[in-house]
């Protein structure tokens, strides 16, 4: 295993006129490529089919979210965060709202926190389902995609019933929630839990013991826990490498300390372990949801926050465990209605950095598998 610090930048200048003479070729994958999950461009340096190294070219989806934040009020910026990791919009919103709440020194009431947890965990399942479908599709199994999308639909239906939107939900407000849980919310969520449990088994039935799946994922894209930490890789990727670290446990936020759940970890840090970890995480999320639904307290859903938000001068860093890893917000306030600086610490962006290390000496086909297993969303990488 190469030390991540010694990874040298690629020499991409050598022209490749012929295959045979050069022995190495530089191939460009993306930005319009079906397996790069959006507009990621990867420049691969190959020896035959073996990857000597690669370089990611990102920024095709750069919208300047951080700049926009400086020109909006705290409330106005809230919907923008949904557009970063658009498959886990609820998590983004949770992180932002909690960061601003911290800056304002308010705390959302318990009822709001429970509903937040339910929606966030539902969103985690949805995100993992989308990941599973597309990842399996990248490896060539086309069927799981339809299974997962069928079941993800149920989650989106709950979101739609709750706040009217399916994808970019803008579900939370600074200080709590805008909407009370609709009638039958609890029944819907409980129904979903019992509906999706056998479905997760169904996905596993298709893949977990499938021989080709094992061959394609075992020992592919291995990264050790040490390298993960050095590269700042978080989330399921870190846990699959054997580091039992989850912000929900390590530094609980949003009443996560009230729930019992395990943090699944892997051993080998390969693609298969990451798959297993994410499957287990879906089950753990269901556990959390079930506990939360049972115990939703009565009470207000909105804390007392001023109509015009002017947080005191200061700065705060708050991070949550998004489906993809540590999602952090670093907000600097200058006492005005607009944040002076909002820095988003995007898990996909940092995790993507590990792609080079994970792909070295693997085959081209594995690059696809590893991109899939990192579970990146380009909206978040580029912001």
């Amino acid at each position: 295993m190469t030390d991540p610090k010694t990874l040298s930048p690629l020499d991409l200048e050598t022209p490749d006129k012929t295959f045979l003479d050069a022995n190495e070729l530089v191939i460009n994958m993306g930005p319009q490529h079906p397996a790069t999950h959006g507009v990621l461009r990867v420049i691969l340096r190959l020896d035959g089919e073996k990857v000597l190294g690669l370089e990611c070219v990102i920024g095709y989806l750069h919208r300047g979210v951080e700049k926009i934040a400086e020109n909006r009020t705290y409330t106005m910026f809230n919907p923008y965060v949904d557009r970063m990791d658009y498959v886990a919009a609820v998590s983004n919103g949770l992180g932002y709202c909690e960061a601003v709440e911290k800056l304002l020194s308010v705390e959302a009431p318990p009822r709001a926190q429970y509903i937040r947890v339910i929606l966030t965990e539902l969103n985690r399942i949805a995100s993992h389902q989308l990941w599973l479908g597309t990842h399996a599709l990248d490896i060539g199994a086309i069927t799981p995609l339809f299974y997962t999308f069928r079941d993800r639909e149920e989650i989106l239906k709950i979101f739609e019933k709750y706040c009217g939107a399916r994808l970019t939900t803008h579900a939370f407000r600074i200080g709590g929630l805008q909407y009370e849980a609709y009638d039958g919310f609890e029944k819907d969520v409980k129904g979903f839990c019992s509906f999706v449990k056998p479905k997760i088994d169904e996905y596993e039935e298709l893949l977990t013991t499938n021989r080709i799946w094992l061959e394609r994922t075992r020992g592919v894209g291995v990264i050790s826990g040490k390298d993960c930490i050095a590269l700042g890789v978080t989330g399921p990727v870190l846990r699959a490498s054997g580091v039992r670290w989850d912000i929900r446990k390590a530094q609980p936020y949003a009443s996560y300390k009230n729930f019992e759940f395990d943090v699944p970890t892997g051993e080998n840090g390969d693609t298969y372990d990451r798959y297993i970890v994410r499957m287990a995480e879906m089950r753990q999320s269901l556990r959390i949801i079930e506990q939360a639904v049972e115990g939703i307290p009565e009470g207000p859903i909105m804390a007392k926050v001023p109509k015009v938000m002017k947080p005191p001068v200061g700065e705060v860093y708050h991070s949550i465990e998004a489906p993809k890893g540590e999602l952090g917000y670093f907000i600097v306030s200058d006492g005005s209605t607009q944040p002076y600086r909002v820095r988003v610490r995007p898990p996909s962006f940092v995790n993507l950095q590990a792609l080079d290390l994970m792909c070295r000496n693997q085959l081209v086909a594995d690059v696809i598998a590893v991109i899939g297993t990192l579970d990146i969303v380009l909206g978040e990488v580029d912001r």
Binding site: P9, G59, G64, A230, Y317, G328
Partner: protein, 158 residues
């Protein structure tokens, strides 16, 4: 820990807490040493984030902020330093490999150079773009018209 460093480095270091979050204000000259110590002695083995804030009215225009986390201690700390426009910082890539892209992003957005970075170039914006968008003097509608016209073949990206 802070007291120890305080003794050693005197006024170059300043430990503060705001909203329960600890941060160190460190003088630019002490940055390499302090970061090295934090990583090796204090076991802040995970660099969560590296970013900057622009204060155009100050003499030292930029705050550069490292957000560090220690797995053994389960503790976060922020390290802040002030530098002037045009001043450069030593790269932290040898300490935390993750700083590679993070430093590139800071360079991309603020134009802060990091010495010893293996491949310091723009990351989110295209090569050849002029200007650093997250500086306060860069308007939200501003863009590098010349670049857009040459590379995209359109009058304006607005």
């Amino acid at each position: 820990m802070v007291a120890k460093y305080k003794r050693e480095y005197g006024s170059g270091i300043n430990a503060l807490t705001y909203l329960g979050q600890n941060y160190l204000e460190v003088d630019r000259s002490l940055i390499p040493e302090i970061l090295q110590l934090l990583r090796d002695d204090e076991k802040f083995d995970y660099c969560v984030d590296l970013t900057a804030v622009h204060y155009p009215n100050r003499e030292k225009q930029f705050d550069v902020v490292w957000v560090l986390y220690s797995f053994p201690r389960n503790e976060r700390i922020r390290v802040k330093t002030q530098i002037a426009d045009g001043e450069s910082l030593p790269s932290s890539v040898p300490l935390w490999a993750t700083c590679n892209w993070l430093e590139r992003e800071v360079y991309d957005m603020f134009g802060i150079k990091f010495d010893g970075h293996p491949d310091l170039k723009r990351i989110l914006l295209p090569e050849g773009w002029k200007g650093f968008p997250l500086r306060k003097d860069y308007g939200i509608l501003q863009q590098d018209n010349e670049w857009v016209q040459i590379n995209l073949g359109i009058e304006s990206g607005q």
